[in-house]
């Protein structure tokens, strides 16, 4: 198996991989322990105290998830349009759009299933962003992918470079985008989201869906 090259790591750390390359990168990381160790090693090397966030993968099978990712990516390019959902929580001018990619359909509805691939985009006048996923199993940072500080929003738009694969924990899946004009500490954001106490001066955008394990890999 060919490992992730230094150039691909460089492009990953520069946020330069396109969606297709991201799918390949992510798929390789899921299968390759050596490269996952590299990811952690590189995060520490770059002064990132926290380990990079990982989206849990369903126990139903990595291979199936990867196939879904690839099919989903193809569908995304072919059909996906990022549209604000009616139950979107918005303040000011910001918008938080998510698309669930499945072999059958795209769109973010009130239901989702383990194995669904989620792609997100935020439009905002704020300068910094952290996206946290909250489910029955707890909270985890979805964006930025690495580092202990919030990601920068460029030109009023942050399109998440990676897709998120929903795990098989039952219940409501929430996606919380925390926006700010000042840089944020990721750990602080996660704590505030878990406690339900917004950080002063930030804007919260929340999307949620009811996850039904029976719909897994529909």
């Amino acid at each position: 198996m060919k490992h992730i090259s230094a150039l691909t790591w460089f492009r990953f750390e520069s946020n330069d991989l396109n969606l297709g390359e991201w799918a390949g990168f992510r798929w390789h990381l899921l299968r390759c322990e050596t490269c996952r160790a590299q990811l952690t090693q590189r995060a520490v090397l770059g002064g990132d105290e926290s380990a990079p966030s990982r989206v849990p993968i369903s126990r139903l099978g990595i291979a199936f998830t990867a196939v879904l990712c690839l099919v989903g990516t193809a569908f995304f390019f072919a059909r996906a349009r990022l549209e604000p959902d009616p139950d979107l929580t918005m303040k000011g001018e910001s918008a938080f759009s998510l698309v669930v990619i499945t072999p059958q359909a795209t769109g973010f509805g009130s239901r989702c299933a383990p194995g669904d691939v989620v792609q997100a985009e935020v439009r905002t006048s704020k300068e910094f962003i952290v996206v946290v996923g909250v489910s029955a199993t707890g909270a985890q940072v979805l964006y930025p992918v690495t580092g202990s500080r919030s990601a920068e929003v460029k030109d009023g738009r942050a399109r998440m470079p990676n897709s998120w694969v929903l795990d098989d924990a039952p219940g409501v899946e929430r996606f919380v985008a925390v926006l700010s004009d000042e840089p944020l500490e990721v750990a602080h954001v996660v704590q505030s989201v878990l406690r339900g106490q917004p950080i002063a001066g930030t804007e919260l955008l929340i999307r949620s869906c009811e996850k039904d394990a029976r719909d897994a890999f529909r």
Partner: protein, 164 residues
């Protein structure tokens, strides 16, 4: 030709990656920061240096590697601790799983740093240390894949002759 704004954007996007890359080659954070400074300063001084043959990030990767190797050589000429320097680089590399191939790769990198010209060194590093395909190496150094292969083979042969 890049504007000041383009280079500012590139700095924000890639500074961290540039520092990491340099740190992996040099094993020293302070020097890595200096290399990053040099890389972006050189872009400001010669904003038309990027001619678009490769991707922007490939160009930046190559420039960082070049500056880091240059710095490493200056340091090593004084102290002659080539093996130590390569061992540091190897901490962050993913070598071939075959021990014989891994040993050969390490030896090639050491000898390239010691004695090869700048382009050959980048080729050897790309191929043996960075896990790049010959096509990717060709893109990084701005040569054809055939030339990259020839240079690599020639360096291998030279090394074998010397070690006989």
């Amino acid at each position: 030709m890049w504007s000041r704004k383009d280079i500012d954007g590139l700095y924000r996007q890639s500074h961290r990656a540039v520092v990491k890359r340099a740190r992996m080659l040099l094993g020293n954070e302070a020097e890595a920061n200096d290399v990053a400074q040099e890389v972006f300063t050189s872009l400001l001084e010669a904003p038309d240096s990027f001619r678009g043959q490769a991707g922007v990030m490939t160009y930046l990767f190559a420039l960082t590697t070049k500056q880091a190797i240059s710095r490493l050589r200056k340091r090593l000429v004084r102290h002659e601790a080539w093996e130590n320097a390569v061992s540091t680089m190897w901490t962050y590399a993913i070598p071939p799983s075959d021990p014989a191939l891994a040993a050969e790769a390490k030896q090639l990198v050491t000898r390239a740093l010691e004695s090869a010209d700048e382009i050959t060194t980048q080729i050897v590093l790309g191929h043996c240390l960075d896990g790049l395909s010959q096509g990717e190496v060709a893109e990084v150094v701005g040569l054809s894949r055939v030339t990259v292969n020839q240079r690599l083979q020639a360096f291998r042969s030279k090394l074998k002759e010397v070690s006989r």
